[in-house]
């Protein structure tokens, strides 16, 4: 399989008034093309920092990240972060606008994505007029519009209530599958990771180290179906035991 990312001996230290904090300690792993990789760890373990470093939003202290040439990165956050003063279409076009890639072709592609994923009648509406799930879909399309090779998702559903969370993760998984994207997602929700991922990396508590890596293949097409798979409870239990608890 084609490697998109190779992370080698990555470490990260923060400096604060009260001293040095080691957030990530010597992590190495690869990301392969078209895989859905989940990184789980308890809150505050440094997984967001790891994703920020991979997405060029933060510097690393030591180690190396080898990227495939011209790798185009897409990043999606916990909250939809839609601009309330832009309508849905303009919000979805924001990334293209920033990158000066707002060509006719790209605009058409974005519109097509919006229409394909049920936002056809909302192009002229403003974010405040949409439900949480719809807003999250717009946020994903805003990222997809820049045609990224790899998507980084930072707990993309944790701002939603439980019911919308299940259906939105179904939605998002569907979209990502249709668009054939590589994904690295971080979460602290074991069930969410199991229902979405092809591979799961478990991180220890801070400073984050890799505790274990699991290849996941559960029966079922959608995340909701996978949650009903036979092996689900068994894997859940193993991951639960691997996770460091903060309590």
């Amino acid at each position: 399989m084609n490697k998109l990312l190779e992370i080698k001996n990555l470490s990260k230290k923060y400096h604060t008034k009260n001293g040095e904090i080691s957030a990530i300690d010597n992590i190495s792993f690869d990301v392969y093309e078209k895989e859905f990789l989940c990184i789980i760890g308890s809150s505050g373990c440094g997984k967001s920092t790891l994703l920020n470093i991979l997405a060029n939003l933060d510097d690393l202290s030591s180690g190396k990240i080898l990227k495939k040439e011209n790798l185009n990165i897409g990043y999606m956050l916990q909250e939809d972060a839609l601009m309330p003063w832009l309508n849905i279409l303009d919000n979805a076009l924001l990334g293209l606008e920033i990158r000066h890639e707002k060509t006719k072709e790209n605009i058409a592609y974005t519109k097509e994505l919006l229409e394909k994923y049920g936002l056809k009648d909302f192009l002229e509406k403003y974010p405040s007029q949409l439900s949480g799930g719809m807003r999250q879909r717009v946020a994903l399309i805003r990222t997809l519009a820049t045609r990224p090779d790899i998507l980084f998702l930072d707990e993309p559903f944790s701002a939603l209530d439980y019911v919308s969370r299940l259906s939105v993760s179904n939605d998002v998984a569907h979209i990502i599958k249709c668009e054939k994207k590589t994904v690295v997602m971080i979460t602290h929700d074991i069930a969410e990771a199991l229902s979405l991922a092809d591979r799961i990396i478990v991180l220890s508590k801070r400073p984050a180290k890799i505790k274990s890596i699991y290849d996941i293949s559960l029966e079922g097409e959608t995340p909701l179906e996978k949650r009903k798979a036979k092996n689900f409870a068994n894997l859940y239990d193993r991951l639960w035991k691997d996770l460091d608890k903060n309590v």
Binding site: Q78, A81, M83, L94, E97
Partner: protein, 262 residues
């Protein structure tokens, strides 16, 4: 529409009319009482004047073709101070935002200037800028500029960090962050700083006119005091009340037009 809904709407309407009615009664009652007490010599008309005399003074000013000149002068000065204050405030706020270390350095000085009663600088301003309109504008700017800078700057620094992270993940440049995120998301703050700025400009201009002027509402008031023509002073104050109310209403109107967008 149901009967309850109709009754509810009617109740709101009646309440609104009642408020307006009482407001009108208060104004008329106040003026009538003032006139009555003055006519009965219970209050000293030399000090307090009386509504009919104030009205005649205003008519006299209009007849001499002076009143509108004075109003126009004051309005012109307010407008210049207002526009300069907003523009400079906006530009300085952007500079402070872009250079955080500068913002940290000037922070105590801004607070000091902001808490200083600006009128204390009046004599100094006259010496530096001269006894002319320039001094009036400088006075008004001193009063409105610091507040504008602080308000707009605070709007800038309070931008949502999630949106900041998002726009950075697209690789936005500093200029793009400013035009696509920081300025639009501070839109409401900027608009509300207009409201603050217009009152501050009027205060500053009147203060400036007290110090140096040959024209304007502030001049009318200070001149009236000097020649003990209290009707003129009262007329000036009355006109000032009306002007400030109208200016405020205009800004509120502009605000509602600009903010309705989303």
């Amino acid at each position: 529409m149901s009967k309850e809904q109709q009754r509810y709407l009617k109740k709101i309407k009646i309440r609104k009319y009642f408020v307006i009615l009482v407001q009108v009664i208060i104004v008329i009652g106040f003026l009538a009482l003032w006139e009555f007490l003055a006519n009965k010599n219970i209050i000293n008309t030399f000090v307090f004047s009386k509504p009919s005399e104030i009205w005649e003074t205003i008519l006299g000013l209009i007849a001499q073709n002076n009143l509108f000149n004075h109003i126009l002068t004051t309005l012109k000065e307010v407008l210049i101070a207002f526009v300069l204050g907003i523009l400079l405030g906006f530009i300085i706020a952007i500079i402070l935002y872009e250079i955080p270390i500068l913002a940290e350095i000037v922070d105590p000085f801004l607070t000091m200037i902001n808490s200083l009663p600006k009128v204390a600088l009046g004599p100094l301003i006259i010496i530096i800028a001269g006894a002319n309109t320039k001094s009036i504008i400088v006075m008004a700017l001193l009063i409105n500029l610091i507040v504008s800078i602080i308000t707009i700057y605070n709007g800038f620094v309070n931008v949502d960090d999630k949106k900041m992270k998002l726009i950075k993940s697209f690789g936005a440049t500093k200029a793009q962050i400013l035009t696509h995120l920081v300025i639009p998301s501070s839109y409401k703050t900027i608009i509300s700083s207009l409201k603050l700025n217009i009152s501050m400009s009027l205060i500053g201009v009147i203060m400036g006119e007290f110090l140096v002027s040959k024209e304007g509402i502030g001049y009318l008031i200070i001149y009236g005091t000097q020649v003990f023509n209290l009707s003129l002073v009262m007329a000036g104050i009355l006109i000032l009340i009306i002007i400030s109310y109208i200016l405020y209403k205009i800004i509120i109107f502009i605000e509602s037009k600009l903010i309705k967008k989303f």
